[in-house]
């Protein structure tokens, strides 16, 4: 069953159409990699999925439930948008960790705030806090950061920061975890540790969308590849087809330029 269905998304910035009629389907536990040259709309698409940008047209469906409709969007309350947004998690290129919280604090914060706003918090405060902390510690351990939990972001390497950011996104148990060029801001020797973690997640039945420039990684980890150019989906298919048998001229050119550099 399709976990996500995107239909006819159009998005403009200052009269420039940056996403043109984007439609695709993502199955549960699939990993989708979005590739393409910079400025092609990949990041904007992820930001639309996470409700950081609002498309003018199009629909988004999760588990056959419509969570976005360009026509009805203005009538949605902030609380509804927040709820819809939580179907997705987003890992940013530049981590965007909260500098005044430790690694553990970063992972726990959103859950703690969510719990505090619920009526039963006062009664079960201790148990709730303990459960949140336990989950956060498990996630950080899973990310290989068991001895870094009490460090602040400025005391961590870029790769460690990005792994904290992944744990932070996972803490909200999103249906679909999105990565926006997760290794682009990292020194080359640090990309491996982050890619390894993402690969592990893909093997554990997580549904993910990864915008990346790491072609070898996309090929290895993805079940499906979308090639975007100039705001359009030019070609999509399984990795073997995209990389070995590209049909469109634009994709052939793109892959060629990757090899000859």
């Amino acid at each position: 069953m399709a976990i996500l269905e995107v239909k006819g998304i159009n998005k403009t910035f200052d009269d420039t159409l940056v996403l043109k009629d984007i439609s695709f389907v993502l199955e549960e536990n699939q990993v989708l990699a979005i590739i393409g040259s910079s400025g092609g709309g990949k990041t904007t698409l992820l930001r639309c999925l996470n409700f950081l940008e609002t498309p003018e047209e199009g629909e988004m469906w999760i588990h056959d439930k419509k969570i976005f409709d360009g026509l009805e969007n203005k009538t949605l309350s902030e609380a509804q948008i927040r709820e819809n947004r939580l179907h997705f998690g987003l890992v940013f290129q530049s981590f965007n960790l909260f500098p005044q919280y430790t690694a553990l604090g970063n992972v726990m914060l959103a859950r703690q705030l969510e719990a505090k706003s619920k009526p039963d918090y006062g009664k079960n405060k201790k148990e709730i806090e303990a459960a949140i902390e336990k989950q956060a510690k498990e996630l950080l351990t899973q990310m290989g950061l068991e001895d870094r939990m009490d460090n602040y972001p400025h005391q961590l390497s870029g790769g460690q920061c990005q792994r904290v950011a992944i744990a932070r996104a996972l803490a909200m148990s999103p249906d679909i975890l999105c990565f926006d060029e997760p290794t682009s801001a990292l020194d080359p020797e640090l990309t491996g540790e982050v890619l390894r973690v993402i690969k592990e997640l893909s093997e554990r039945d997580n549904t993910m969308i990864i915008v990346t420039h790491e072609m070898a990684f996309a090929r290895e980890v993805a079940d499906k590849i979308i090639f975007m150019d100039d705001g359009r989906i030019v070609e999509e298919g399984p990795p073997e087809q995209i990389f070995e048998n590209p049909k469109s001229e634009r994709l052939q050119e793109f892959l060629q330029s990757m090899i000859t550099v």
Binding site: R85, L86, S94, N96, P99, A110, H154, A169
Partner: protein, 228 residues
């Protein structure tokens, strides 16, 4: 003719009374201007056009004119033009008028510092909070605020030290703060006249008080050094 040592207790007593007024004006201004500045800052950044124009206009006028004129206008305008002295008479009325003038004036300076502080927090911080499902309120109080405070402490320290000295302007509406008290001994007061040394003593009060503030504000800055 009294000796210096005989005059000293009289002068110190008078200066203490004056300094208490200075201190009261300083504390009340700070307590009023710190939150009011935040409101004006949000107004100046508001999407509501009329609010934005009003707040920016107020900031422009207040920062563009001398505090001394503002003091005079705020104190005398109601009585002389509206024929209704809302401040009431006497020392209390003058003190309240001075507080209003100082709070409005400093709130506008603080508002600009806050605005700079808020806008210097990367937009990615807010976005990170949003994708984690936090409300705008939660993001402001739990993510943005402390980062903003860290950035505004140095410029705020500057303004706060300036405020201590600016309180002396309140003498233009005859609020009897410490310089007023010191200067009285030049003209003649409590049997002492033609004495300039009490004025030097007022300077020492300012120096010591600003010294203490400098240490406290530096401590606050250090407290916020745990993150970058």
């Amino acid at each position: 003719m009294q000796t210096f040592m005989e005059q000293l207790p009289t002068v110190i007593g008078a200066l203490n009374v004056g300094f208490l007024q200075t201190l009261k004006l300083f504390v009340v201004t700070l307590l009023g201007a710190v939150p009011l500045g935040l409101i004006i800052a949000f107004g100046a950044m508001s999407k509501v056009k009329i609010l934005k124009v009003l707040c920016r206009g107020l900031i422009w006028i207040i920062r563009g004119t001398p505090l001394m004129i503002q003091l005079l206008i705020i104190y005398f305008f109601p009585g002389l033009v509206l024929a209704n002295n809302v401040w009431g008479g006497g020392e209390t009325g003058r003190f309240i008028a001075a507080c209003v003038a100082f709070i409005v004036n400093y709130a506008c300076y603080f508002a600009e510092i806050y605005r700079g502080g808020i806008q210097s927090v990367p937009v990615g911080q807010e976005e990170a909070g949003m994708v984690l499902g936090m409300t705008r309120r939660q993001i402001f109080f739990n993510v943005t605020l402390l980062q903003m405070i860290k950035r505004i402490v140095p410029p705020m320290s500057n303004e706060i030290l300036t405020l201590v000295k600016d309180t002396s302007l309140a003498r233009i509406i005859a609020m009897q703060e410490i310089i007023w008290a010191g200067q009285a001994f030049m003209k003649g007061s409590q049997g002492i006249s033609g004495a300039i040394w009490p004025l030097f003593f007022t300077a020492i009060y300012y120096l010591i008080f600003n010294g203490i503030l400098t240490v406290l504000l530096r401590k606050l800055e250090e407290k916020l050094e745990f993150f970058q």
